[in-house]
């Protein structure tokens, strides 16, 4: 009887395990084997094993990788911090009782609901140096900054603004949900003790929010590190390579040059970096908690 039960259990596990193996584990192993190969797929020539060459090239002889990594890290740091601060402010304001509170809550969520590539094209049009509304408004105030997207000094920050516009609602939504779940007795007690609004926020709200802040920040770090659609739709990595993210560079190597071995090596380096950053972020927050 026990054997039959064990067999039934295994039979139930098999489809799930097979799915995981085929869809999850196999591509991972396949891409790892490719990372140690040279494969210019467009030539129609098969792949050859090159050991660690791809990884060595990435580290020692690929300025474009380092440039894209530098841009991506800066981008992630700026956008996640800004989104957290703005999201927190919005959530705090909209937990208070006020007129049109529900309207504003929905309004602030809208950017997140738009598809990323759509957001990219909308902003590309808004920031168009000749037809864009932004340059026209600036011109109306006699501010002449030609080509916010075509200037290597301003383009990275334009992308950051777009990201903040799109993803602040994510922080706002998570933090608002958490705040609404806080027991009101804590705030009543603080009020009885004469705590000011700032002290209540600093000593009650913020510590209570810490676990959700960790989770939301980590999700945003991982997600924004994969920055692709905005770059693809707005600047294509330009001007020059000033807005080329690590994802976009990997995509270019893989799907423009069809250098699939090197692209897989880049992807693995990318994965290791994300894991390392996630680990650092988690540890840091845990220590502070």
């Amino acid at each position: 009887m026990a054997m039959i039960k064990k067999g039934t259990g295994i039979a139930f596990l098999v489809p799930g395990l097979a799915f995981l193996l085929i869809m999850g584990i196999f591509p991972l192993i396949w891409s790892l084997t490719l990372a140690f190969s040279k494969w210019k797929a467009a030539t129609g020539v098969g792949k050859t094993f090159v050991g660690l060459d791809n990884f060595i090239n990435i580290i020692t002889d690929d300025p474009r990788f380092w440039n894209s990594l530098r841009f991506t890290v800066l981008y992630v740091m700026v956008v996640v911090l800004l989104e957290l601060v703005l999201g927190l402010m919005l959530a705090y304001i909209l937990t208070e009782k006020m007129r049109f509170r529900n309207f504003f809550r929905i309004l602030f969520l809208l950017p997140m609901a738009a598809p990323a590539i759509g957001v990219a094209f909308i902003w590309r049009m808004l920031l168009n140096p000749e037809a864009g509304i932004v340059s026209k408004i600036m011109a109306a105030f006699s501010i002449n900054i030609p080509g916010l997207l075509t200037n290597a000094s301003t383009a990275p920050y334009m992308l950051m603004i777009i990201d903040v516009w799109e993803w602040t609602p994510f922080m706002f939504m998570g933090l608002l949900a958490a705040m609404q779940a806080f027991p009101p007795e804590l705030y009543d007690a603080a009020a009885v003790d004469g705590a000011s609004g700032w002290k209540t926020f600093w000593y009650i709200t913020l510590p209570l929010l810490q676990p959700i802040i960790i989770t939301l920040s980590l999700l945003r770090v991982i997600d924004s590190f994969k920055l692709f659609e905005i770059v693809f739709g707005v600047t294509s990595g330009g001007p020059g390579s000033s807005t080329e993210s690590l994802s976009f560079y990997t995509y270019t190597v893989g799907f423009s040059y069809f250098n699939l071995g090197y692209a897989c090596a880049l992807s693995w380096v990318f994965l290791v970096i994300i894991l390392a950053i996630s680990n650092v972020v988690l540890n840091r927050f845990r220590k502070e908690a």
């Binding site: 040279k38 210019k40 797929a41 467009a42 030539t43 129609g44 474009r64 168009n128 140096p129 000749e130 002449n144 030609p146 080509g147 997207l149 075509t150 200037n151 290597a152 600047t235 294509s236 990595g237 330009g238 001007p239 020059g240 390579s241 000033s242 270019t252 799907f255 423009s256 040059y257 069809f258 250098n259």
Partner: protein, 499 residues
């Protein structure tokens, strides 16, 4: 024995005769109902989809077949196409692609040779196709694509500005010489662009600029650079890409550095948003009247003709000419400058062409649809503006001659049509006109050129640094494809004997 021999001969005769009869029935002309219930998928970019859209209904009605169209942006075309090839998907039967990728597409063996189809079905008036265009359809002497678009860059200039006597006198007073119409050298282009930059020379209440050109990353900006490179680093019949003995890139020699210097100077004499000008923005801006000159394929000429469709404010006001030359050119063989006028015509991009995927399930049907679109009668309507701005430019001898059709069908002025077609015919008929780099990895070599050019235009790197960076990347790309193999194919593409 004799009887057996006789029977064999009779059978052979019958077989030969039947082959002739069968072949005689085959024609490139599409037949009524011949593809009922079948379909093909065409992969095409915008605006080339206009041509497919134009001929799809009548061909579907005639043959009973169905044409599905997949439109992708230019920046994604290579990815879509190669992914389909590499994964053996066969999602596309007929593909419209730029011939400058021949090394990868034809050289990679991803598309079918058209020889069997041309032998069986023929092709509508093959002799009418200009030789320069035929060359772009071939790889190692075999035709792999159907012609559809004849490509070369022209210089466009505003006649109301550059032919204005008062402005000419002022220019001479300032620069000490009379400029040519069209400007003959890039040095002259810089002076003329500087003279006409940032003031209201047509009295419309807005300032105009010196020159428009394609400068945005991933939108074909590298061809503007190559227009200049051809004059400073190539000579008629001598290509500027690699040393054909060693496959060492020539991209950081003084000729190339000078070309990058020139294009960065031109960027300062262009509208403020020039780094955001892809081919669409360049064309739209120039026909809206914002600059004195522009560099582009034949498309501006077509867009010039319609205010209603393209907002053209320059109809009848444009002059057309071949690429400007240079006062000196760098000879890589002797490693020194040659003083004196040098002008090289360049077949930028090589034209969009149609190929049949080797994974196509209906190659014959794809061939028939391709020939239907590119007959002399149909293709004329695609290039003369009758179908609007299609992205296709003249590529048949007959298209250069039928001026009256350009006037009646495309809405051109006679003088404009003559000037435009005369300039294009001169370039396309030049036996020494330079072709694009046609070796495997062509798209990758060019993408790195584009990437680093953008750094120069954005002021992030000096021309020398840019050229050195491209040199380094081209070396790496060559090694990754195999130097000897690349050298062999490069020499082949230049018509040089194997080493």
């Amino acid at each position: 024995m004799k009887k057996a021999l006789f029977v064999t001969l009779v059978l052979l005769l019958l077989f030969t005769l039947s082959s002739f009869v069968f072949a005689a029935g085959k024609t490139w002309e599409s037949q009524k109902g011949e593809y009922a219930g079948k379909s093909i998928t065409v992969l095409v970019t915008d605006p080339h989809t206009m041509v497919v859209q134009a001929w799809k209904p009548s061909w579907e009605e005639l043959t009973g077949g169905k044409v599905d169209i997949v439109v992708v942006p230019y920046a994604s075309l290579y990815d879509k196409m190669m992914t389909d090839f590499i994964t053996d998907t066969g999602a596309y039967d007929l593909i419209c692609w730029p011939s400058s990728w021949s090394g990868d597409i034809m050289g990679g063996g991803w598309v079918l040779s058209l020889k069997p189809f041309m032998d069986d079905y023929g092709y509508p008036n093959w002799d009418d196709v200009v030789p320069a265009q035929k060359n772009n359809l071939m790889w190692a002497g075999v035709v792999y694509a159907l012609p559809y678009d004849g490509d070369c860059h022209l210089i466009y200039y505003r006649k109301d500005a550059l032919e204005n006597k008062e402005y000419q006198a002022k220019f001479k007073a300032k620069y000490g010489y009379d400029y040519n119409l069209p400007p003959k050298t890039w040095e002259e282009v810089i002076d003329v662009a500087e003279f006409f930059n940032n003031w209201d020379w047509n009295n419309d209440g807005k300032n105009e600029y010196g020159i428009d050109f394609i400068a945005q990353r991933k939108t074909q900006a590298q061809w503007t650079l190559l227009d200049i490179v051809m004059q400073y680093a190539a000579q008629p019949g001598v290509a500027p890409y690699f040393n054909p003995d060693t496959m060492e890139p020539l991209v950081n020699n003084p000729g190339w550095v000078e070309a990058v210097t020139v294009i960065t100077k031109l960027a300062k004499l262009a509208p403020p948003g020039i780094l955001g000008y892809g081919y669409s923005e360049n064309r739209q801006a120039f026909v809206s009247g914002n600059a004195a000159m522009s560099i582009d394929w034949g498309d501006i000429g077509v867009m010039e003709q319609s205010e209603k469709e393209y907002g053209s404010k320059v109809k009848g006001k444009l002059g057309y000419g071949p690429l400007p030359g240079a006062k000196k050119t760098f000879n890589f063989k002797d490693n020194k400058w040659i003083e004196g006028y040098n002008q090289v015509n360049f077949l930028d991009f090589g034209g969009w062409i149609y190929s049949i995927s080797k994974f196509s399930k209906n190659p014959e049907m794809a061939y028939k649809f391709g020939t239907f679109m590119t007959t002399p009668e149909h293709s004329l309507l695609d290039v003369d503006g009758a179908h609007g701005y299609t992205g296709a430019n003249p590529w048949r001898f007959s298209q250069y001659k039928e001026i009256a059709k350009w006037v009646t069908d495309g809405g051109w002025g006679e003088e404009s049509a003559k000037g435009y077609l005369g300039a294009i015919e001169k370039i396309m008929s030049d036996a020494k006109a330079m072709s694009d780099l046609r070796i495997p990895g062509g798209a990758e070599y060019y993408d790195y050129m584009d990437l680093h050019l953008a750094d120069a235009l954005a002021g992030k790197a000096t021309p020398q640094d840019v050229c050195d960076a491209v040199y380094k990347e081209w070396q790496k790309i060559t090694d990754s494809y195999g130097r000897d193999k690349q050298l062999k194919l490069y020499r082949e593409s230049l018509g040089l004997p194997a080493k």
